[in-house]
Symmetry: D2
Subunit: 295 residues, 4 copies
C-alpha cells in the first residue's frame, strides 16, 4: 500500500487540489470531488465519503446515469486494458472473472446484453463484496428491478466501490468500517477443553464446485492460528468450514471405530454481510456437535 493522504491535509486543500488528490476514486468524474469540496472540512473519513456520495445523489437522474455509464461492463468486451480505471482491473481480477468457463462467459454476456437493453447503462457491482456465484445471482435479481430502483442499486454499489478506494487512499479519524471477519473456535466437550491442533479447511462453495480458500490449525485455545478470512470485506456467498475432529480425538487416545461416527465435520454457511463478523464455532464430541452464529 502506498502512503496515504491525511484527512487533515485534504481538508486544507482548495477545490482543485482536493479533486486532484481524490482522482481515481470516482471514475471519470472529477466533478464529484469538486462539488463535495463545499462541505469541507470533514470531521471523519466516513463523513468525507458521505459528502462525496451526497454530491452524486444531488444530481438529476440523467447525470447519474451518465456517471454510472462511465463505468466499464463487468465482463464485457469493454474490459480491455486502457478503457478501465486502473483500480477496477485488480478488483475484477479478485473475483476470477478472467477465469470464467465458456458457459459462464456466455451467461455473463447474455446478462450484460439484457441489462444494457433494459436499463441503458452498464451493470455495476462491487465485486470485492461478492463471490462469482453471488455476482451472477445479483445480476439476475437486479434485472427484475424497475429503472429507478436499479439506478439507486447501482449508486449503492458505487458507494461500496468508492468507500474501499477511499480507505486505501486517505487516512484519518472515523475510518469507514469496510472489513468483515470470519472466526471459529473448536471446543472438545469430551475432554472439557479447547481442541488444539485441529485442521480446519475453508472452502468457497459454488454452483460449479468447491474451492479451498485456506487451511488453518487451531491453537491451544482452540482458535485458528491466523485469520482465515477478513481484513477487507468478506464476499457474499456460501462457504464450508471443514473440521478434522476425528484426527483430534484419535490423537487424544480415543479408540474410534475404523469408520468413526464423526470424522470430518463440514459446516456450510452463508455470508450476507461483507462487513460483518461471522463467528462459527464447533462444539464437539466423537458423537455430537453443535454450531451457531456466535460473536
Amino acid at each position: 500500500m502506498t502512503e496515504r493522504l491525511s484527512l487533515d491535509a485534504l481538508n486544507a486543500m482548495n477545490a482543485d487540489d482536493f479533486a486532484a488528490a481524490l482522482d481515481g476514486i470516482f471514475e471519470h468524474a472529477p466533478w464529484v470531488a469538486m462539488s463535495a469540496h463545499a462541505g469541507h472540512p470533514f470531521a471523519t473519513v466516513t463523513a468525507l465519503h458521505e459528502g462525496l456520495m451526497a454530491a452524486v445523489r444531488a444530481r438529476p437522474a440523467e447525470d447519474q446515469i451518465a456517471f454510472v455509464s462511465a463505468h466499464p461492463d463487468l465482463a464485457g468486451k469493454a474490459a480491455r486494458a486502457g478503457e478501465i480505471a486502473p483500480a477496477s482491473v485488480s478488483e475484477q481480477a479478485g473475483l476470477g472473472l478472467e477465469r470464467l468457463s465458456i458457459e459462464e462467459f456466455a451467461r455473463f454476456e447474455r446478462l450484460n446484453a439484457a441489462y444494457r437493453a433494459r436499463f441503458g447503462f452498464p451493470f455495476v457491482v462491487c465485486v470485492r463484496r461478492l463471490t462469482r456465484d453471488a455476482v451472477l445471482d445479483a445480476f439476475e435479481r437486479r434485472l427484475a428491478n424497475d429503472r429507478e430502483t436499479e439506478l439507486a442499486a447501482a449508486l449503492t454499489e458505487i458507494g461500496y466501490i468508492t468507500r474501499l478506494r477511499l480507505v486505501e487512499k486517505v487516512d484519518g479519524p472515523g475510518m469507514p468500517h469496510v472489513a468483515g471477519r470470519l472466526s471459529t473456535h473448536v471446543l472438545d466437550t469430551h475432554g472439557g477443553c479447547p481442541a488444539e491442533h485441529v485442521r480446519v479447511e475453508l472452502f468457497e462453495v459454488g454452483r460449479s464446485g468447491r474451492v479451498l480458500l485456506t487451511e488453518v490449525h487451531t491453537d491451544a485455545d482452540g482458535r485458528p492460528h491466523r485469520l482465515m478470512m477478513g481484513g477487507g470485506p468478506l464476499r457474499i456467498g456460501t462457504y464450508e468450514l471443514v473440521f478434522h475432529i476425528g484426527d483430534h480425538f484419535r490423537a487424544h487416545g480415543l479408540e474410534l471405530p475404523e469408520q468413526p461416527f464423526l470424522d470430518v465435520v463440514p459446516i456450510r454457511f452463508g455470508i450476507s454481510d461483507p462487513e460483518g463478523h461471522y463467528h462459527v464455532p464447533l462444539v464437539a464430541t466423537p458423537w455430537s456437535y453443535s454450531t451457531y452464529r456466535g460473536s
Copy 2:
C-alpha cells in the same frame, strides 16, 4: 422372497435332507450342514447358524482354507457367471463392483493378486455390509494380517454372508439380528415444534464422489415419511444427510437474507456397525444447529 422353510421342519429332517435344504448357504460345502446336523434340534435360527459355523470352525486349518478357497475372487477374472453360487451374484451387484472405473478395477486386481500371493486363498468379504470404499479399505487392512488372523477374518465374513442367506431361507423363533436402521428427526427450535415437510437427502460419500441414495421429506412429527436405509444390514462407510432447512424457515414466513446463514445443512457421519440403529437428528434454528448419535 420365496417361501421360507420353518425351523421346525428343518429340525425334523434327517442329515441328508437337512443338508439338501440348506444347500447354497455354504458354497460348495454340503459337509457343513451334514456335520452340524448332529447338534439338532436347534431352539432358534440363531442357534442353527451358530451350529453351522461351529462345524466350520471345528475343522483343521487346511480344511478351512480349502473351504474359503471355494469362494470366488471378489472382482477377479473368476467373477464370470456360472462359476459363482447364484446368491453371490446379486450380493456383489449391490456393491456396484460391475461399475468399477478402470483405475478401481486395476486396484482391485492388484489387491487380489497381492492377497492371493500372501495367503493362498481368495479375499472373502460380506459385500452387503460395506460400501465399495469400505471394501477397498478392508482389503488393504487385511493384507497386513498374519495368515492365522486372516483366516479367522475370512471365516467371520463367511459367518456374515451365510447368516444373511439363512434368514432368507429359514423362518423360526430367535432370528439373527441382521438389519440395521438409519433414522432422523428434524426439530425446529426457532418455532418450538417438529419441522414438517423438510427435504432430506441421503448420500453415500466415497473417495470418487457423492452418490444420492435416497430423498425423503419429514412428516408432521419431523420424521422421514419412510425408511431411508435399513431392512437389511447397513453398509460400513461414510454418508451425508443433507437437510434443506432454509426452505423450511422461509416457508414459515421468516425473512432470511438472500444468502441465509444456514440453508442446506450437511451432516457427514460414518457407519461402522451394519446391524446397528443410527439415529442422526437435526435440532436447528436459522442460526444454529446440533446433531448427535441418538437412539
Copy 3:
C-alpha cells in the same frame, strides 16, 4: 373408575334418561343435557361434549351467569361439604387448596371478594389443569377482564371441567383429548449411547418452594422406566427436571474432580398446554449439555 356408560346407550335414551345419566357433569343444571338432547345421536364423545356446551352458550347472558353462579367459590366459605357437587371436592383437593398457608388463604379470600364484587359471580377454574400458583396468577389476570370477556373465560373453564367429567363417565368413539404427557430422554454423548440408570427427579416449582412430584430412573434406552406425569391433563405451571448425571459418568469409570463441572443438572421449564406432549431431553457430557422442546 366405575363402569362407564357407552355413547350408544346414551344416544338411545330419551331426554329425561339422557339428563339423568349425565347428572353431575353440569352442576345443578339438568337443563343443559335436556336441551342438548335435541342434537342426538352424537357421532363421537367429543361431539356430545360440544353439544352440551353449545346448549350453555345458546342461553342469554343472564342465564349463563346464573349457571356459573351455581358453582362454589374456589376457596371461600362456601367450600363446605354438602354445598359442592361431589366431583368438585376431589378436584379441588388435588390442588392442595386445603393446605393453603394463612397468607395464601387470606390472598384467596381477598381475590374472591374482589372478583365477586366486580363480576357478581364466583371465580370458576378447572383446577386440575393448573398448579396452585397458576390458579392465583389466573385469578389476578382475570380480575382485569371486562364482564363479557370474563363470562366467556368462566364458560371455557366449565368446558374443561365438564370435559374431564364426561370422559370419566362416558365411553365411545372420538373421546376428547384430555391427557397431556411429560417425557424425557437422556443421551450420553461422551460415550455415544443412551444413558441408563440415571436418576431423574421432577419438581413443581412454586413461589413458596419446590415440591418433589416423582422420581424415576432411565432404562437401557435412556428413557424413564415409567410415566412421570400424564394420563390426565398436566397442570399449567413451572417445573424442574433434575438429572443426576455426575453419578452416571462416575459409574462409567470417568474420573471427575471432587467437585465435577456438571453433577446434578436442573432443567426448569413451563407447561402452558395441559393437553400437550412435553418432551424435554438431556443430551450431556461431563462438560456440556443441551435440552430442547422435542417431540
Copy 4:
C-alpha cells in the same frame, strides 16, 4: 492494598532484613525466611515462594508438625482475636465461619476434635479457595488420610495460604498465578445475535441453601457488564448461573405463553480449580438451550 515491596529490594536484603520484610507470611515462623534466604537472589516471585516452601519441606517431620501446630484451629475456641495472625482473621471472615449455624458450629467442633485426636495438629486449609461446604467436605475427607499424607496436605494448604499473602506483599516479575475467573456469554440463536440486557444472577449453592453472590446484565456482545467472580482465587464449590431469558425474548417482541417453556434458566456447575478460567455460556432460543465449559 498497601505499597508492595519489590522483588529487587528483597533480593538486596541480608537475611535478617529479608525475614523481617516477609514477617506475617509464614505465621510464627521467621526461620522459614531466614533459611530460604540462602537461595537468593530469586529470579521471580514464584521462585521466591517455591524457595520459602522448600525451606519448610526440608525440615524433619516433627519440625513441620510444630510449624503446622502454630496455626489456629479453623473454627475452634482458639479463634479469639489476638491469638491469630492478623491476615488469618480476614481470610476466615470471607468464608462466613463467624455466621455458622449452631448445628454447623457443632459439626466443626466435632470434626476439629476428631482431627486433633487423630493427627495431633490443627486442621489447616486455605479458606479463600473453598466455599463453607467445600471446607466441611475437605475436613471429612482429610480425616481419612494417614498422618504422612495429611501432613503433606496441610503443607500444600499452607503453600496456597502463603502464596496469596506473598502476592499481596511482594511485586516483581513472574508473579504466581493465583486468580481464577468466571465468565459467561449469552447468545440468542432465535435472533442470531448476542443477547443484550439479559439479567444473570450468580448463586453459591450450599447444603443449607442458595446465596446470591452477584447479579449482572449482559452488554451488546452478550457478555457480563462486569466481572462476576475472579481477581483472586475462585472458591471450590457448587454454583448456579440463572439467566432471565424469558424477559429477553419478550422484550424482543416474541409472544410467549403465560407460562413460557423457558423463562428463567438455571445452570448449575462446580468449580474445582480455584485458579482456573470457567467460561459457562448460554446458547438459547425460547425452546432450547445449551451450555458447555468453554474457554
